[in-house]
Every structure is written in C-alpha cells, then in structure tokens.
C-alpha cells in the first residue's frame, strides 16, 4: 500500500469517528456545562493514551504473520459491520444517521438529567457523557491507527493521518459551534466500510500464509471489487422493497461501535 493510500484511509476512517465524538461533546457542553464536558474529554483522552501506550508496543512483538491474521480478521469483521449498515442506510432499509437529530436528542436528554457534581467536576452528567463518547470513538481511532500502522510498518504515518482528521474535525466543529451535519457522513461510512473490508480481507489472507497474485497491487483490484459488490447490493435492495421515508432518522446516541 502506498503512503498516500494509508494516510487517506486512516484520515477518512478517523474523520467519521471524530465527527461522532464531537457531536457528543458539543451536546454535553452546550446543553450542560462546557467545563465539565471538556474535563470529560481530557479524561477520556488520557485514558486512551494510557491504553495505546500499554498495548501499542506489545503489538510490535507479535510476528507479522500472526498479527496480520488476527488484526486482519478483526478489521474484516469490523469493516463488514460498517458496510452492512451503510448499505442498509443507502438502500433505505435503515434510517440515515443524522447528526443534527442526534445532537438535538442528546441536548434534550442532557437538559432533563439532574444537575450535580463530584469533586472538581461541576456537572457529572456532562463529564460522563463527553468522556464515554470520546473514549469509545477514540478507541476506534486508536484501533485503526495501531492496526493500519503496524501492518504497514508505518505507525507514525497512520498516527499523522488520525491526528490530522481529529484536528480538522475539532477545528471545524468548534469554529461553527454546531454538529457537523453538512459532512456527508453516510457516504463517508460507506467508503470507510469498503476500505476496512478490503484491507481486512487482504491482510488476513496474507496472515494465513496464502499469497495474493500481484502482491500489494491486489489492493488496486480488491478495493474497487468490494465497492462494486456493496453498490450492487444497495441497488438490489432498493429495488427489492419500499424504503423508509427520507426524513426518518435514527436519532440515537452515536456511540455504537461501528455505526
């Protein structure tokens, strides 16, 4: 895989996670207490840093074949989850993930929750909401960085891609002070699902000891093939039944593992 492809893949995948995390932090901050929301964000980032620092170097000690098999399999299962949901959304069988609605519901839920602090945290609800959201989405970012970076033996480049995504989303988010509803999140999720599934397939097969014809160049055929398969499934499902109305929204907290 070329450096540019690695960088773009990590950047795109991490952008999706960052958008979701930012939505939660903005909801907690604007509706409850900015200070507590930011404390929760910092606490989650510190916990994440400790997790990555503890597990990251250990991954480097595992033989490359075993690493590719295990990580590739995880990435493939992960990618298929993304792809499945993205296809169901694109075909109208699952409501589109609307960050504006998610944000509104988060604000409404936060407004109803009882106020109260613990220790240095003035608003415990805002703190836990922000920290849970950031930790979960951040865990996915860390997972993407560690797996892609270790497999390509270029952890710094993967980390740069992730950092660029997080900084870009954070900058835009706080500049507009609103959920990033204009980001075509469902389209991005579709693309990320294709990428994760393709890389997961590629690495896990290499991990079994099998050899792709064309080595790394196989990815140039594998990625379009997966994209074509996903697009084909979407078209078939659209034809197959009556879709949900376009205005329908999931509205739930965007904290599930792969959505």
């Amino acid at each position: 895989m070329s450096d540019l492809v690695l960088l773009l893949t990590v950047f795109l995948a991490c952008t999706v996670e960052a958008v979701e995390a930012l939505t939660i932090v903005l909801a907690a901050g604007t509706s409850r207490h900015w200070g507590s929301a930011l404390q929760g964000t910092v606490a989650a980032l510190l916990a994440l840093a400790a997790t990555v620092a503890a597990l990251g170097p250990a991954i480097g000690l595992i033989p490359l074949g075993t690493l590719r098999l295990v990580v590739g399999a995880l990435l493939l299962v992960f990618g298929l989850q993304w792809l499945r949901k993205a296809i169901l959304r694109a075909s109208g069988h699952k409501a589109l993930h609307d960050e504006t609605t998610a944000y509104t519901k988060q604000v409404a839920a936060a407004g109803k929750a009882q106020a109260g602090g613990r220790g240095q945290v003035r608003d415990w609800y805002a703190f836990t909401l922000a920290s849970k959201g950031v930790f979960l989405e951040g865990l996915e970012v860390a997972f993407i960085v560690v797996t892609f970076g270790n497999n390509q033996r270029d952890l710094p480049l993967a980390a740069i891609g992730a950092a660029a995504a997080v900084l870009a989303v954070t900058g835009v988010g706080f500049a507009v002070r609103a959920p990033l509803a204009r980001v075509p999140e469902n389209t991005m999720k579709f693309a990320v699902g294709v990428m994760l599934t393709s890389f997961g397939t590629f690495w896990s097969v290499e991990g079994t000891g099998a050899h792709w014809p064309g080595s790394d160049a196989t990815l140039l055929a594998l990625i379009p093939a997966v994209a074509l398969l996903a697009t084909g499934c979407t078209v078939l499902l659209r034809r197959g039944s009556s879709p949900l109305p376009p205005s329908t929204s999931t509205g739930g907290i965007p904290m599930e593992g792969t959505s």
Binding site: L80, H93, S241, S242, T258
Partner: protein, 70 residues
C-alpha cells in the same frame, strides 16, 4: 458481576456487532484458507468469495422482516 457483564457486552458490541454469524463465517473461512495453505493450496480466492456470500446473507437476513411486512 454486573461490571463484568457490562464489560463483556461492550467488547461484544464493539467487535462482533449486530450479526454474530458474520464473525463466525469470517473465522470459518480463514480457518479453511489456513488449512488449504497447509496442504499446499494457495487459497487466496476463498476469503473474498466468503466475504461476498457473508455480506449478501447478512443483508438478506436484515431486510427479510421488512419484506414480509410489505
């Protein structure tokens, strides 16, 4: 015990997600690929075929209730 259940549930949702059959299918396909490689067959083609089948079956299961309602 509640903490352990929550912890297990979190990781299950994080890794496995909505359709456990996909994870089982991927594991089975990779095991078969590894087995074939051990007996000298370079079975790189098996997993892509399995992925296509698993995705199609998972989507079929997901939309089946919708179609039955129509």
């Amino acid at each position: 015990m509640t903490w352990l259940r929550s912890f297990t549930r979190f990781w299950y949702d994080f890794v496995i997600g909505d359709d456990w059959r996909v994870a089982v299918g991927v594991t089975a396909a990779l095991s078969a690929t590894w087995g074939l490689v051990q007996v000298g067959v370079d079975a790189w083609w098996l997993l892509p075929a399995a992925v296509a089948a698993l995705l199609a079956l998972s989507l079929h299961r997901a939309v089946r209730p919708t179609r039955e309602r129509d």
